[in-house]
Structure formats: structure tokens, C-alpha cells
């Protein structure tokens, strides 16, 4: 191949080629990222300042779409469809994140007590994560079926007045999405916490035991506080998942009844693709994008700084 001892001439050329080769190799990815990530973000943002309907046009109308989006915005009285979507997202993410963390942490702590068959338990807890949200949605849509599902089952067990029809009740349908999402994701949170627990230095715990501290106290005072980075990661990941929630809603409620379980992602899709209001859909996408970035950029920044310091 090339011969670097041979200065100048062919060797020098090859040497220079070796130096630009890495850049050439990255060039396609660079071009793809520049166009399909950053260019497209720019395009969508631009469109959100136009009055594009079925087809994109490039006539700027200022912040009109945004003012329409936030017109009559009220998270309590739900006077606009966007406020329904945003308040659903808030309700959903608070419950989803909270419950996933409680279940995940509890299961991780229990599994960390030298359990026989730990691997089997872990495999079972995590398998829903391998399924598509559409499959999960289909399953829970059947389980929560107002006529033949859970309601019928409990009634047959002897509670003949039991009713459970959340799926078709506008005010409660959002909680069915929480139920299915928690089922799918809490095993993953368990795995995060379990690997966090396995990373804790044993000697601190032994020292505390020698001092006579009981196990619950050790968990409360030492172990759980030292899991702070895992809590942070879990919250960020789950928050990110909830802002992007789309599949599960489509499979479980399709945003219904009416638009009672609409969230920003389904809102964006409906207005852009079904109602032909491109600019309006684009504006909602920009809001979603900004929300995600507001969460992710500080997190990434601290993560990357952390790894640089380690090196």
C-alpha cells in the first residue's frame, strides 16, 4: 500500500489522501444530516410562518399560525383543541413518568435481593418493550373493551355492578393511554434502575450495616439518593417518549372520543395530513420540537461535558 517513508511524490499524495479520506467518508452523512435534519427543521419552521394549506406556499404571514394555535388557550377549561392536546400531554406525562418510576424502582430493588430466577423475571418485565405501540394498543383496546373486556370479567367474578368504560368516556379515556404506556415501559425503567443499583459501591453499604443501620434505612438514606443520575436519565427518556407519543394513541383511542385524547403529535398529524392545514400543523410541530430541545439540550450538554472530563 502507501509508503510513508518515501517523502514527496506518490507517497506524499497518498499520505494526503489518507488525511482527507475520513472526511470523504463522512461527507454523505454530513450532507444527509444537513438536508434531512437541519434543512428540514428550517423548512418546517419557515412553513409555519406562511399560510400554506393543502400545498406549501412561501408567502409569509408572520406569527399568525402561532397566535391561532394559542388563541383561547386554557389548560383548565379546554376552550381550544390545542389546549386539550397540551393538557392531555401534561396529565399523561406526569402520570406515565411517575408510575413508571415507582414500579421500575420498586421492581429493581426487589430484584436486587439475590432473587432466584432473576434473569427470568427480568426477561418477563422487559418483553413489552420489544413490541410495537400499535400491538400494545391493540391488546389493551381489547382488554379495556367496554362490553366484553375487563368489565365483563369483574362482573362475572361476582361484582355485578362493576363498570369500567374509560375507553369511551371523554374525561377518562386519557388514563387508558397511561395504563397501556406504563405496561409497555415500566420494565425498561426497572432495567435502568437495576443497572444503577449494580453500580453502587458495596463497601458503603457494608459500612452502614456495621453501624447497625437497617435495610430500609440504608435504601432511604444511601442507595436511593445515590441513584440520582438514573432518576434524571429515566425522567428525560420518559418525557421524551411522552412528547413523541403518537402510535399508542392512534391504536388505542385514535385521539377520541371526539378529540378528548388528542396530544400534540396526533394534533400535528391531523391538521397536516387530514385537514390540509400545513402551516398550522407545522407551527404545532415547531412547538413540539422546541419543547423537546428545551429538555434534551441541557441534558446532553451535561452528559457530554461529563464524559469529556472523564477522558
Amino acid at each position: 500500500m502507501n509508503n510513508k517513508n518515501n517523502n514527496g511524490g506518490l507517497g506524499g499524495l497518498l499520505h494526503r489522501l489518507e488525511n482527507i479520506l475520513p472526511k470523504i467518508v463522512l461527507l454523505p452523512t454530513f450532507a444527509l444530516a444537513a438536508i434531512f435534519i437541519y434543512g428540514f427543521i428550517g423548512w418546517t419552521t419557515f412553513i409555519s410562518f406562511t399560510d400554506s394549506k393543502l400545498l406549501p406556499n412561501y408567502k409569509l404571514v408572520g406569527v399568525h399560525q402561532y397566535t391561532t394555535l394559542f388563541e383561547n388557550f386554557n389548560l383548565i377549561t379546554h376552550t381550544s383543541r390545542w389546549s386539550v392536546a397540551v393538557s392531555n400531554l401534561i396529565i399523561y406525562s406526569v402520570l406515565f413518568i411517575g408510575i413508571c418510576i415507582i414500579i421500575g424502582l420498586a421492581l429493581a430493588i426487589f430484584l436486587d435481593q439475590r432473587i432466584r430466577g432473576e434473569g427470568l423475571f427480568r426477561t418477563v418485565y422487559l418483553y413489552p418493550m420489544a413490541l410495537s405501540f400499535i400491538v400494545t394498543g391493540a391488546a389493551w383496546r381489547w382488554i379495556l373493551n367496554p362490553d366484553l373486556g375487563l368489565e365483563r370479567l369483574i362482573r362475572q367474578l361476582g361484582f355485578s355492578h362493576f363498570t369500567f368504560r374509560w375507553l369511551v368516556q371523554s374525561d377518562l379515556a386519557i388514563y387508558t393511554i397511561v395504563i397501556a404506556a406504563v405496561w409497555q415501559s415500566s420494565g425498561f425503567v426497572m432495567a435502568l434502575f437495576l443497572s444503577g443499583l449494580r453500580g453502587i459501591d458495596d463497601s458503603i453499604i457494608k459500612a452502614a450495616q456495621v453501624d447497625g443501620a437497617g435495610l430500609p434505612r440504608i435504601y432511604r438514606k444511601i442507595i436511593i439518593p445515590s441513584l440520582r443520575p438514573v432518576f434524571l436519565s429515566a425522567v428525560i427518556i420518559l418525557m421524551h417518549l411522552s412528547i413523541k407519543s403518537f402510535d399508542l394513541i392512534m391504536a388505542l383511542t385514535q385521539g377520541g372520543p371526539g378529540y378528548a385524547t388528542d396530544m400534540p403529535a396526533t394534533f400535528m398529524y391531523t391538521f397536516s395530513f387530514n385537514r390540509n392545514r400545513l402551516a398550522y400543523g407545522a407551527a404545532s410541530a415547531v412547538i413540539m420540537f422546541l419543547a423537546v430541545m428545551a429538555i434534551i439540550i441541557p441534558y446532553l450538554y451535561s452528559e457530554l461535558r461529563g464524559t469529556r472530563n472523564e477522558r
Binding site: M1, L26, L192, V292
Partner: protein
């Protein structure tokens, strides 16, 4: 490791036995909570509709019938067409295989450059690429559908392959880059002194140690792309629908009598490939999840 030793050395009091019983009870209950929905899916898919109407969610089928499976595969109606899931299953396979191969191969070379051939600005570029893991895809949906139309591959499997390859790259690049960082740089330096070039080092030194990360990346991409719904529903046409979109159409169809057994059989068909991947290679699946989700 804490897990390997007794918590309270040498004691086995009634108290600790009771605690163990509680522990195993809770863990088993949790396992049932995760398993029962799948169990319900399976038994529902094996029932007849008459059986479903007379029984409950968890009552076992009176007679085991595979009719719902046959119908789900062959003749169930998704929208106007009544040809079951088989065509869409094939669509998904045709979409997943090329997209996984391309995104993984490009990601491997990218990761190699980002870890072993850094140049001025490469770290910045990597950070900007990393951000691509996090963007909510709603922000690129509209321009992408325009672009696919202009390129003449709108509503086609080719278009979906392209989309999945592009938006998989940040993840695969991240996987390989983080893995290759741990390959000792001294070996690379020594090889360079011996006159080995960019591709030769990649081929002879890097690739032979890359098997685990290839497994992680392939599994991650396979499950992501197979399970995708957003791109599928936004960019596919009647002939190119992936299975998730077809399943959603089937489950949400409001015409005719609802056949829950067919729905569940179709849902299992759609879920089975990724489930098998998980059962066969769970360890790698988890590694991808934590690497893909925690860091990027």
C-alpha cells in the same frame, strides 16, 4: 456484589423468611401483570367469536380454533382490501432488511471515523448528528413527504427504506462510535506505522472485534423500523403499507362485525418478529435500549 451475599450474615430468622415470601409474591404478581395481556391475546386469538361473547377475557377457549389466525393472515379486511396481513408482513420485511443493512454499515464507518480519525470539527459534527436522535419526527414529516414526492418515491417501499436509513444513522453512528472509543488507539497507531491505511485498519483491526456492537445495532434498528408507525402511516400507500399500519387499520376498522379474535391474531403476527428477536438476543436488545436511549 451485594446480590451474591446474604444481607444479614448468618441469620435466617422467621422475619427474614417472611420477607422473602413477600418478595417472591410481589415479583411473581408483577410478572403476571406483564404476562396476562399477552396471555389474553393468545387465548382470544384461539377462540371463536361465539366463545368470546359467552366467556370472559381470561376464560380458556372451549375448543381451540385457528380460524382467526388463518383469517388474519389471509383474508382479514384492512380498509378496502381483504387480503389479510401477509402482504403487509412482506412489505415490512422488504423495508426492514435493506434499511437495517444500510444504516448499520454506514453507521459503522461513521463511528470508526468519529472515534479513530478525529479531525478539526468532527466532534462538533458528531454532537449535531447526535441531536438527530432526539428530534420529534413531526418536525421533518412535512418536508419529507414533499421530498419523497419530488424524488418520485412517495408512497413506496423505497421511500420508506430511505427515510428509515437516514433517521437511523444518528443512532447507529452513536452505537459504533461509543464502542470503538474503547478499542485501544495504540493498536491503530502501530498499524499506521506499519503502513496500513484507513480502510485496511478498518477491515483488519476494527471489524474483527465489532461483532457485539453489530448485533446491538442490527437488533436496535430491526425493532425500531419494524415497530415504526409514524413514518409508515405518513409515507406509505395502499400497496406499500408496513404491518403496523395495516394492523392499526384492522383494529380501528368500524365496518362490519368486530372480530376480536382476528384482531388479536393479527396483533401477535405483527409483534412476533421483534418478540423472537428479544427472546433470542435479549442481552443485546437491552444494551441497545440503554445505549440508544440514555445517551442518545
Amino acid at each position: 456484589m451485594r446480590g451474591k451475599q446474604p444481607q444479614i450474615p448468618g441469620t435466617r430468622t422467621t422475619g427474614s423468611i417472611i420477607i422473602r415470601i413477600i418478595l417472591y409474591t410481589v415479583l411473581t404478581a408483577a410478572a403476571l401483570y406483564f404476562l396476562i395481556p399477552f396471555f389474553v391475546m393468545v387465548i382470544t386469538s384461539l377462540k371463536t367469536m361465539k366463545d368470546i361473547r359467552s366467556g370472559t377475557l381470561i376464560s380458556l377457549p372451549k375448543t381451540i380454533s385457528f380460524d382467526a389466525w388463518a383469517k388474519a393472515w389471509d383474508s382479514a379486511c384492512t380498509g378496502i382490501k381483504c387480503e389479510g396481513m401477509k402482504g403487509y408482513f412482506l412489505n415490512s420485511v422488504q423495508m426492514v432488511v435493506p434499511a437495517v443493512i444500510m444504516s448499520t454499515a454506514i453507521g459503522a464507518v461513521n463511528g470508526y471515523v468519529f472515534s479513530k480519525w478525529r479531525f478539526k470539527g468532527s466532534e462538533t459534527f458528531f454532537t449535531f448528528l447526535l441531536l438527530g436522535c432526539f428530534i420529534p419526527f413531526q418536525i421533518i414529516l412535512l418536508p419529507m413527504s414533499q421530498t419523497l414526492g419530488i424524488l418520485g418515491i412517495g408512497q413506496s417501499i423505497i421511500g420508506l427504506i430511505l427515510v428509515h436509513t437516514i433517521y437511523g444513522l444518528p443512532f447507529t453512528t452513536l452505537f459504533f462510535r461509543n464502542f470503538y472509543v474503547s478499542v485501544p488507539t495504540e493498536i491503530i497507531k502501530a498499524a499506521k506505522i506499519d503502513g496500513a491505511g484507513f480502510f485496511r485498519i478498518f477491515w483488519r483491526i476494527i471489524l474483527p472485534v465489532s461483532a457485539p456492537i453489530f448485533v446491538v445495532a442490527v437488533i436496535w434498528q430491526t425493532t425500531q423500523i419494524w415497530n415504526d408507525f409514524l413514518f409508515g402511516v405518513a409515507f406509505s400507500g395502499a400497496e406499500s403499507r408496513p404491518i403496523t399500519v395495516a394492523l392499526n387499520n384492522l383494529v380501528n376498522t368500524s365496518t362490519g362485525v368486530k372480530e376480536y379474535n382476528v384482531d388479536m391474531a393479527a396483533a401477535i403476527i405483527a409483534g412476533l418478529p421483534t418478540l423472537i428477536v428479544y427472546i433470542v438476543a435479549g442481552k443485546y436488545f437491552l444494551r441497545g435500549l440503554t445505549a440508544g436511549a440514555v445517551k442518545g
